[in-house]
Amino acid sequence: MIRFLARRVVVGAAVVFGVVTLTFLLLRLAPGDPVERLIGPAATPVQIEAQRRSLGLDRPLVTQYGIWVGRFAAGDWGTSIARGRPVREVIGTAWPATVILVGLSLSLSYLFGILVGAVQANASGSRLDTGLSVATVAVYALPGYWLGLMLVMVFTYWLRVLPAFGAAGLDADFVGGWAWFVDRLRHLVLPVATLTLIGIGGAARFVRGSMLDVLSQPFVAVARAKGLTSRRVTFRHVLRNALVPLVTLLGLSIPALFSGAVFVEAVFAWPGVGRVLVEAVQGRDYPVVMAATAVSAVLVVVGNLTADLLMALVDPRVQHTS
């Protein structure tokens, strides 16, 4: 178990390191100069040169990379070129928002996805099953940014019941306790609903397939032959076994959810890592791009690692393969 874990951690670290190196190279090789964007078109070449030097952009690539890695590892993530704030502060306020968004959506979509999939598998071949199949395929096909806009249109513009932008109302700093909590919750509803709806589609499709696989196993027939109630068969024998492969899906859906979160954060102006990344990329804010990429890579790798670990706990055979 320890060896298995150690190997996964090493691979994960290699991935994060690779992402960071790749990002660094891409940023430096691509056309476009952050300095020119920063100080505007009216600057003289001398001013540009001075600004380059102060940002350390005039040194050789390898030196820049070495310096960056050293500082990053030591906790000095530099200052945002566009915002003038320390990068650590920018990322530090952003990542909890993303984790809340993704974590909540993940739990809810699994909860409802398992429910829908189980209902379908139990009624397999019926009208209900077909109807739900069509619904889950359609929901799974929804682009997150578009579904988000549609929800905003209905719940914010037409019904006027939910806020569409940000994580807190304008008066959030002046209200306390319960009102503060309700305000936060109301802002969470639409982004979480967007990611959850799409997630339910994926989870339900998976659970249905995996439950039907288990249903065709001999031990289910034995359980029925023993005269167990159908509820007992479903919950004790079928669902438990069907949930094992679901852990694999967890490993797949964590990166997918983070990807989805990038778009959804952009739509809802949700103050998470995704939005920071999109803005930084568009504004060539090198230090922020580097840090945001590193943090999203870490989040994805940790998510995968958790899924691997769960898988190894649920199904000990995994430890010995691959």
Binding site: V11, A14, V15, G18, V19, L22, T23, L26, L27, A30, P31, G32, S124, G125, V137, A138, Y140, A141, L142, P143, Y145, W146, L147, L149, M150, V152, M153, Y157, G209, L212, D213, L215, S216, P255, F258, S259, V262, F263, A266, V267, L277, V278, V281, Q282, V289, T293, S296, A297, V300, V301, N304
Partner: protein, 299 residues
């Protein structure tokens, strides 16, 4: 036993005499959607006003609701946007961009994936370990982050989107092909060909790859929808296909600002996107069930 043999010999009535995609409702739906879109995209000038950027009197023709006729007597099936441009025409011309970018990107992915997978499956030792190690590494990279970086660093264009989506999407295909090639290489018909002295390249192209392509076709069909959705996503964020060239993604982005007074501008391209992705999922599922009966999901 080749893939074609398996189909013809299959006991499933759905895969016998009738063209298979008619017998399977999912496949029929998928084929119908793609055919319809292809026809519309190819004959775009005939089924629309002919110019997606056509603007007349902006004040008089903007924000016209669907099914209305403007003062020039032009009928607007899906209404007009804030510049008075016909949304239907933009959808039709946008389908050219969205479909071709999505499909071309998938072709690039398949080309890279098949080459890498086949090489890794055929070679032994360090070359194989390096290639598959690299594939696993690339698979672990967060794709959307990479897409954003790549797409925003260079001058945005449709071609760049094809390249970027292609380069970040080949890994699952490579893994599939690698597995198939390794499995097939151990089969007796490959040993027989080797014993007969057939060159390795000929074994690969005549005996191994044709048999390995079935799962690739399935994966590519399933992947096209996703690729089209990603293209739209990049264009939505402004780093993909650039306005005024219409793509479904940048149409959604421009409709975002007029959600209150002209909701049809953002709604229509999104509905088409969902339709395409559903079609590709259903067609892919049906193809998998027909071509790879062993992996058939219980129905």
């Amino acid at each position: 036993m080749t893939a074609t043999r398996r189909i013809r010999g299959g006991a499933d009535p759905a895969v016998q005499r009738v063209p298979w995609f008619w017998a399977d409702r999912r496949a029929a739906f998928g084929v119908a959607v793609f055919l319809a879109l292809a026809v519309v995209a190819v004959f775009a000038p005939l089924v629309s006003t002919g110019d997606p950027a056509l603007q007349r009197d902006v004040v008089a023709t903007r924000f016209l609701p669907p099914l209305s006729t403007d003062l020039h007597g032009v009928f607007h099936l899906v209404g007009t946007d804030r510049f008075g441009r016909d949304v239907w025409t933009r959808l039709v011309y946008g389908s050219r961009i969205s479909l071709s970018v999505g499909i071309l990107a998938m072709v690039v992915s398949v080309a890279i994936g098949v080459s890498v997978g086949a090489m890794a499956g055929l070679w032994r030792g360090t070359a194989r370990v390096t290639l598959m190690g690299f594939t696993d590494f690339a698979l672990a990279l967060p794709r959307v982050v990479l897409l954003l970086l790549l797409a925003s660093l260079w001058q945005p264009s449709a071609l760049l989107v094809v390249a970027v989506l292609g380069v970040t999407g080949w890994m699952p295909i490579a893994r599939l092909v690698y597995g198939e090639v390794r499995g097939l290489s151990a089969r007796s018909f490959v040993h027989a060909a080797e014993a007969l002295g057939v060159r390795r390249s000929a074994i690969l192209s005549r005996h191994v790859l044709p048999n390995a392509l079935t799962p690739v076709i399935v994966a590519a069909t399933l992947g096209v929808g996703n690729t089209i959705m990603l293209e739209a996503g990049l264009s939505f964020l402004g780093v993909g296909v650039q306005p005024p060239m219409p793509s479904w993604g940048n149409m959604i982005a421009s409709g975002r600002d007029t959600l209150v007074n002209a909701p049809w501008v953002a709604t229509a391209p999104g509905l088409l996107l969902v339709l395409v992705v559903v079609a590709s999922t259903l067609l892919g599922d049906a193809l998998r069930d027909t071509l790879e009966p062993s992996k058939r999901a219980v129905r």
